[in-house]
Symmetry: C2
């Protein structure tokens, strides 16, 4: 696997994979870089450049085989192996994540929840046994945890992150709207739903005004 | 406001705004397009091209004034006006969203929740009065709702979306991991936390193996 791939390329690979999955479900078997580019809102040159980091996938003039490229991207993105996940913070957000469908679509396996609330620790929430944060080290070692979903209150985010780092969890998906800092050997990705909300505000602002909107709807 | 701006440009404007907000909080008052580009993981040419859609913001040789460009981006993205928001689906996810901090940072104002569960309708969840989905039309008209957060079960997503469209809600932020279809005058943005999770899987896959990781941690 090549190193030093730009982060923006990785984001686009995720988008290409989604586009290819949609195309396959629509029964499309071949796609050109123009086609992928249009669906992903980038240039065809960008598509070819992003894919070229990982080898040669297309055939000049006839484009890509959708199923093959999809499977290559799944492999490149690390989605063909299982990942063991804990949820840290079993409040409303943690519980919503525990019930989130489609996690198992890519072999993300939820193994436990973690909280500090005595009324939750030792119980099952959904199918997940809830452990105390103080027992994180044993949990991570026994369950060989790869990824933690961080869903604690803002004030607790950095302390919980530090505990995850000490326990040896290599990856954190941060749902808390704050920046957490980790040493270089730990990877954090943040889920920022405010980004989607800001995009939405932009598109609503440039959309027709209310009168036009009602006319369009009527 | 110019129309026909590429969707990918809008996504990058959101990233530039976050970078500028961080820079301002760090006391940085001026930034070059190279600096913005490095922080946003794109080329400096891309930064200049994206901003050029909206006018001329920088000075050749001395870059951008952070506070000014930040405020311009807030205005361009529609974040200087209030937006009235309802949450459709007051289960665990809806309740987590109702409690999400920082929504008011940009004048997103939660005005109500919507559900079909008789035990919730008519009650307050947090500060939000919960209305029945059947009363959506009156709610949207009385509260002049701009945006709905869609947080219903997958099976209910399209029917709830159709109800929002009929009631005249112009914008939907979709938290449900399924595609919903709307007429052209309605805008949908989807929050896909699996995208962040796939990026994380990629970076973990290319990271040092366990032995190296423990050496690095130790």
């Amino acid at each position: 696997m090549p190193k030093g791939i730009p982060s923006a390329t990785v984001s686009r690979l995720v988008i290409y994979l989604r586009v290819l999955t949609d195309l396959e479900s629509e029964g499309v078997s071949r796609a050109s870089s123009d086609h992928l580019a249009a669906e992903a809102n980038v240039s065809a040159f960008q598509v070819r450049k992003d894919l070229a980091y990982f080898g040669s996938f297309g055939t000049r003039g006839s484009g890509y085989t959708v199923a093959t490229l999809k499977n290559e991207l799944r492999r490149i993105l690390g989605l063909t192996r299982p990942w063991r996940v804990i949820i840290v913070g079993m409040g409303r957000l943690g519980q919503a994540l525990a019930a989130y469908p489609q996690l198992d679509q890519y072999d993300f396996k939820l193994v436990a929840g973690v909280d500090v609330d005595a009324s939750k620790v030792g119980s099952l929430i959904g199918d997940l046994p809830v452990h105390h944060l103080d027992d994180l080290h044993e949990l991570v070692a026994e369950q060989t945890v790869d990824i933690a979903f961080l869903a604690v209150p803002v004030d607790a985010a950095q302390a919980a992150t530090d505990a995850l780092v000490r326990a040896g969890v290599p990856g954190i998906l941060n749902f808390v709207p704050t920046v957490v800092t980790v040493p270089a050997h730990v990877t954090v990705e943040s889920v920022d739903f405010l980004a989607g909300l800001k995009r939405l505000a932009y598109f609503l602002q440039v959309a027709p005004h209310d009168g036009e909107r009602e006319a369009a709807a009527g």
